[in-house]
């Protein structure tokens, strides 16, 4: 599905996105949007859609840019750096990725053009109250659907931690069927669908709980599990990119501050305590970037080690972002303890993204399972 881009083209995409975000999604704008009911910046999203970002992963025959994980990751770095309030991860990555991977041509034709144009916001309901993003956690059940039948199904049960369901036009729902996990399209304002906004700690991110009570649904594709796995892979690459970008931005802001903040007659950046924290965080920031980019590359090239690289990026980027955002506050001192300073926005995002789509402990456990299988074969030394 990937149209190869050159390094220069990739950089150009990222730069264009970065420029738009710098102009249209500065801190002031983010704070304004995060206080709104919907929590997304529709104007910005239109702008990004016009640039092809909403349809970044959508195949060109459905009106998208047809790009892949590498470009996704670079764009995500910019979006994460700006804490931009958009349905990028929910609609353009998770939902678009899921539809594309479902290989359901009709559903793709029906939904992807709108997603790519930014006129349709779709989201994916993948996890229950436990929020593990593991198949076992799906508590929605489908009834009245026959194998492979495309309509006549009804969903019941609860999905939680659904990104942007409150503003979504279309819900894509994973539900248990008689033949394993299936995917279903549900109208967000349809019968039997009750969407309850969850109060989020990171107000730049909106989550909802959805209760389905015999809600009419249309089945998408066949077996749901492979498509879900594919969509989660892309989403984790996107998350890693956002984390790497966010980590880098708050790190850069912090280093700049320590150069200008004078105490004891000199910039605090000249004191060893600050210098050494900065050096350690630089290593974290660079490692996060390396991990996110490698995961994207491995996935793009469909390497055997892609899952392993994605697991590594998942926990490495989450932990790096959390550490950098936390230490950044300490390095700033009192000023970053105020609501008006942006540091806590990054800390909130870092904390949220540490669990959204799966915890670091979970990804480490998966990573170890994979490398220990190899180590047993003697095929790869860690």
């Amino acid at each position: 599905m990937t149209i190869a881009t050159t390094l220069e083209e990739r950089r150009a995409i990222a730069e264009t996105v970065g420029k738009l975000l710098a102009e249209e999604s500065g801190e002031k704008r983010v704070r304004a949007v995060m206080e709104t009911r919907d929590g997304i910046d529709r104007e910005l999203w239109s702008g990004l859609a016009r640039m092809g970002i909403a349809g970044l992963l959508v195949p060109s025959r459905f009106g998208g840019a047809g790009l892949g994980p590498v470009e996704l990751e670079l764009v995500a770095e910019e979006i994460g750096a700006a804490l931009a309030c958009t349905p990028f991860l929910s609609s353009s990555v998770l939902a678009a990725g899921l539809l594309t991977a479902s290989q359901d041509e009709a559903a793709c034709a029906r939904l992807l053009p709108g997603i790519a144009a930014g006129t349709t916001i779709a989201t994916v309901a993948l996890t229950g109250e436990r929020g593990s993003w593991q198949p076992v956690d799906v508590t929605v059940r489908a009834e009245g659907t026959k194998d492979g039948a495309n309509d006549g199904a009804f969903l019941s049960g609860t999905a939680s931690y659904v990104m942007h369901a409150g503003v979504a036009d279309v819900l894509l729902v994973a539900a248990a069927t008689s033949d394993g996990l299936g995917l279903f399209e549900v109208a967000s304002h349809g019968a039997g669908v009750a969407i309850e906004a969850l109060p989020t700690f990171d107000r730049t991110l909106r989550l909802d709980r959805i209760a389905f009570a015999h809600a009419p649904a249309t089945r998408i594709g066949g077996a749901g599990r492979p498509a879900i796995d594919a969509a989660l892979r892309l989403a984790l690459v996107g998350r890693a990119g956002e984390q790497a970008g966010g980590a880098r931005r708050i790190f850069d802001m912090t280093v700049e501050y320590t150069k200008t903040r004078i105490q004891f007659g000199r910039p605090i950046g000249g004191f060893q305590a600050i210098k050494h924290m900065a050096a350690e965080l630089l290593l974290e920031a660079e490692s996060a970037t390396s991990a996110a980019r490698d995961a994207a590359l491995q996935l793009a090239q469909d390497h055997d080690g892609a899952d392993e690289a994605i697991d590594l990026a998942a926990f490495a980027c989450a932990d790096a972002f959390a550490k950098i955002a936390a230490t950044a506050i300490q390095m700033h001192g009192g000023i970053a303890f105020t609501w008006e300073h942006p540091a806590h926005l990054y800390l909130r995002r870092a904390r949220a993204y540490s669990y959204l789509l799966g915890s670091s402990d979970l990804h480490r456990e998966r990573f170890l399972t994979k490398i220990s299988a190899q180590s047993h074969d003697g095929s790869v030394a860690p």
Partner: protein, 392 residues
Amino acid sequence: MTNEDLRREVNDWLAAHWRAPGTIIQSMWETNAETRAWHTKVFEARWSVPSWPVEWFGRGLDDEQTNIVIEAFAQVGAPGTGQDRFNLPANTLLAAASDELKLTLIPGLLKKDITTCLLYSEPSAGSDLAGVRTRAERDGDRFIVNGQKVWTSGATVADYGMLICRTDWDVPKHSGLSFFFLPMKQAGVEVRPLRQITGEAHFNEVFFTDAVVPASHLVGGLNRGWRVLQTALAYERSSMGARARGSRHGAADDLVALARAAGRLDDPLLRQDIARTVALRRLNTLNNARAKAELEQGTSSSIMSLGKLAMSRILHEEARVRTAIIGVESLLAGETQPTADDVNFLALNAYFTSIGGGTDQIQKNIISERVLGLPREPELDRNIPFKQVRSG
């Protein structure tokens, strides 16, 4: 008077006067009618500051006797005594103020008629308090104050502010500072609430525009404020090591209970984390007890100064473990999610201790220099006139 006599006297007095508590306020920053009434009784019976001299509202008791009084009050749960040990503004005044100012302010402070706030930090003087730029200029028998303070608790209600400010710009930074008790309720003082990262507003910014303080409210002498401030700060630091704020809903204070409620008390990773964290709090308690015992035995203790640093570590570690316990639930917040709200609040509020009252980094400097005797760092701005010092 024998110890036995004293014990009898205080117990008799308490039996006669102390009634089951209503809404007496323990906070340094607040007061109310009931609190004032009780503290006034204690003051008039000379129990407020038992070890202070008789001419200064006390009884001139020694340490052992003072302990007897404090224990007697503690046994029935009555506040008001022992202010010779913990009333920061009163002690500051006794140590450094003129007799006139002592007479003016101390009774009100002990009776809790008067509340105070601290006017120390400034936007450009956080870790470096000796770099404050709020200025007081002499104008006859008063000083005119201009500038800005920040991180002030209780400023909206306080009667007086304990103010450190600059009175001489031509001498090195530590030598041009003065310490005042500034009346807060005047036109030249504007208080604006400051919103913290937790969303709360427990602190204020305070702006002075030609605010007035009588020259008689100067404490410790003109340009001799640094030493007064040091005494006050040492007190604040040691008190920050012993206590820290709990959560908003009380839903996440006990890590074991939190893990049990989350159904994760059998998770081996969390068990190690919880044990490690509970241990940190226990160790701090043991350290504080040992410090107290060593002080009472006359051995100087190096442990006291570690309390704030230890508490910072405890709060951040607990925050980390709490987050690990509730996991994905930490994405939530707000009144309808008391557990998540507490966990997130405590994670953010931990910075109050690791930054406020001197950052961890400043604490480590102090410990390494004052306890371990390691050399000070070169200070570029120490011996030059303050007006030549860089700021930003």
